[in-house]
Point group: C2
Chain length 406, copies 2
């Protein structure tokens, strides 16, 4: 079984790489902080007898040999990058839970038939380079390596440049990595398990998510001399659009979600009516047809709003991750393990995207959720208990052992 103390110690150790004053973590993909945690991960896994390699997207693979070296590996993992004001568990638990499984087997001197691998996927969050799950997306064939490498951060630096700067480019072509199964442990990032007092979420799939960039074009004008009726205020129009984007979620309550995370206005001077506003839109729904209807609703509302506000609007889709259903046999490994271990559980659909979404296109995949405090995530206050993260890792261990027997 899992050594809960060692796992918790690893969580505390990794939280220091990019740790913030408020107890959160700021460790954007491929920054120096990310390089530090990658080095720590490599050393830790080597001490457990693993070999560690990179693929061409900087995905990091720690491999423990199996008794049958010709079998494809069973993979575990998630990501070590975080949001700007992120927490200590989102992604990290999936990697460290994998390390805890390796440690349990190492300490018990147990061998598996398949090789086991723990993977750290590059740039899952999409906080530095959009869209999210970029490197697991290349692995799963959702994005080309050229597209992913060309993505630039706010300062114009590309992912490819940062991969090379960090020395994270491995010889293996990303995606040319056969695997028998993939299990990802993660905090729920939502309120359901906590509210129902259940320890384990058996994740059956992930909801659909679509991103857009909206550009609103008005006319810049002097704040002190331009009569209100003569203005074409791009920000006032955008404010009305934000209210309308919110209304889209209300129309499809309770499952429909809509979020505007980034907004900029130009020319950004206190005494100038803004001529151009840009904002992002994130729409989600567990059902693809309903998400499609939300998109139509959203597009119509933007046009109507532009018309009544006397401005131009342009909406560009920037990401589309369709709803995913996980592999029934892998899900069964998770469910059966949870039952045997005696933890309370429920089936759950993930609201957040995960590397498992894209990995599941090429490898049989399932996920395990554990509760987090008040469902808060993408926030420095993100929190989970030692008991729950240990329970989740135990389920991960047993699920991997089950998959190894098949």
């Amino acid at each position: 079984t899992i050594n809960g103390q060692a796992l918790w110690h690893d969580l505390v150790t990794t939280a220091a790489f990019g740790g913030t004053e408020k107890g959160g973590v700021c460790r954007l993909a491929l920054t120096d902080e990310d390089a530090q945690v990658r080095a720590w991960f490599e050393q830790t896994c080597k001490a457990l007898g693993c070999t560690v390699t990179y693929d061409s997207m900087g995905n990091q693979f720690a491999r423990r040999a199996g008794t049958q070296s010709d079998l494809p590996p069973i993979m575990m993992g998630s990501h070590l990058d975080t949001q700007v004001t992120g927490g200590r568990f989102d992604g990290i638990l999936g990697v460290l839970g994998g390390v805890a499984v390796l440690r349990a087997l190492h300490d018990a001197g147990v061998s598996t038939q398949h090789p086991l691998e723990v993977v750290n996927w590059t740039n899952e969050e999409g906080a530095r380079f959009t869209p999210p799950m970029l490197a697991s997306g290349v692995f799963g064939g959702a994005f080309t390596e050229e597209f992913a490498g060309s993505r630039a951060d706010a300062a114009g630096v590309t992912l490819r440049q940062e991969l090379e700067r960090g020395g994270f480019v491995g010889a293996e072509q990303c995606g040319q990595h056969p695997a028998a199964a993939y299990f990802e442990l993660h905090i729920e990032q939502g309120p359901v398990l906590e509210a129902e007092e259940r320890t384990i979420g058996v994740v059956t799939g992930v909801q659909g998510m679509r991103w857009y960039e909206v550009v609103v074009r008005g006319r810049s004008a002097h704040a002190g001399t331009t009569p209100m009726p003569m203005r074409k205020d791009a920000l006032l129009a955008a404010a009305r659009m934000i209210e309308q984007v919110n209304a889209v979620a209300q129309d499809y309550a309770p499952d429909g979600l809509s979020t505007i995370g980034i907004i900029t206005a130009l020319p950004a001077s206190s005494n100038v009516v803004p001529r151009e506003v840009r904002f992002t839109v994130d729409l989600r729904n567990p059902s693809e047809p309903v998400l499609q209807a939300m998109e139509q609703d959203f597009l119509q509302r933007m046009q109507a709003c532009a018309q009544t506000s006397g401005v131009q609007v342009e909406v560009t889709p920037t990401w589309n991750s369709p709803a995913v259903h996980f592999d029934t046999r892998c899900v069964a490994c998770v469910k059966d393990s949870t039952q045997e271990l005696g933890y309370t559980m429920r089936d759950i659909v993930s609201g957040a995207g995960h590397d498992a979404v894209y990995v599941s296109r090429v490898v049989p995949t399932a996920m395990i959720f554990v509760p987090c405090l008040h469902g808060i995530s993408h926030n420095e206050a993100e929190s989970a208990t030692p008991e729950d993260v240990t329970a989740g890792s135990n389920v991960l261990l047993h699920a991997v052992m089950k998959a190894d027997e098949v």
Copy 2:
């Protein structure tokens, strides 16, 4: 009389310092482009027989001697800095109109009793360092030199640092500069003169204007897992507040104006509900008591909006420039000159702030407006005709001669 061709030539020449592709000007205060236009101004005035000095705030004074050297100078002027996407006339015309007056006297071999000065005031726009009219504000006693010097741009560089970098710090203490009168020529920046087909606006005063910074605090949360009812979305709340700020102007139509020019949201990630939004507010009205009522209305609307949206709001006043009434004798000099020259005219209250606002606290002051195309300003499309700018400069010349006789 004014040499209209030479004046237009100067307007074209100065438009090249920081000239933009769209025919506008980007010449933020104390940048290298501003240094270029300052050097050009100095050389041009020296060629007309002037001496050129700086005061401690980098205000630039070009002085043409009078026959009675003990009399305080009559000043003309405005500013040579622009908005980020500014025009070729806002401020610039007031300085170049003054140069045109010096040139007319120089070419005609005419002497005045008073010395004449053309002033280029530092950082009028408030686009780089807020608030606007910062250096004329120190001159007029509205701000201390310490306060003005400590103002920082978006990159954290202070006005004092930039004054020193450019070598613009003169020996004379800002404000220790006696003057007999000050006349500022400017484009109207609004639609009134054009609509009524009048050439000259006799500016009787300037409306009151107040600035605020609003901070909205919610809670960052995951875009994919946080149910809509559980969110404290600082941007959705801010969108509603923007609508309410607009409503304040509608309540006090047609004179009340409200503008939001700058907005930022944190942590600025597409899949994170914003935890904090900051925006600026600019409220204006020609009547101080009405402006006071607008402020109360605004503050109440912000609190009400925060309450219904479940967020915190904090409003900080950042600038207050009360309504101004210009010196009746100086205004009469403008009006009488316009009448003698036979231009169509009307009295007008300025919607924009000008250096004249603060200079008028210590020097008898008046302003002259000329029309600009469609009233558009703080926009690269800002435009005025050679005829109108020449007419305005002729009024400036005559007003100065009248003041010299008194």
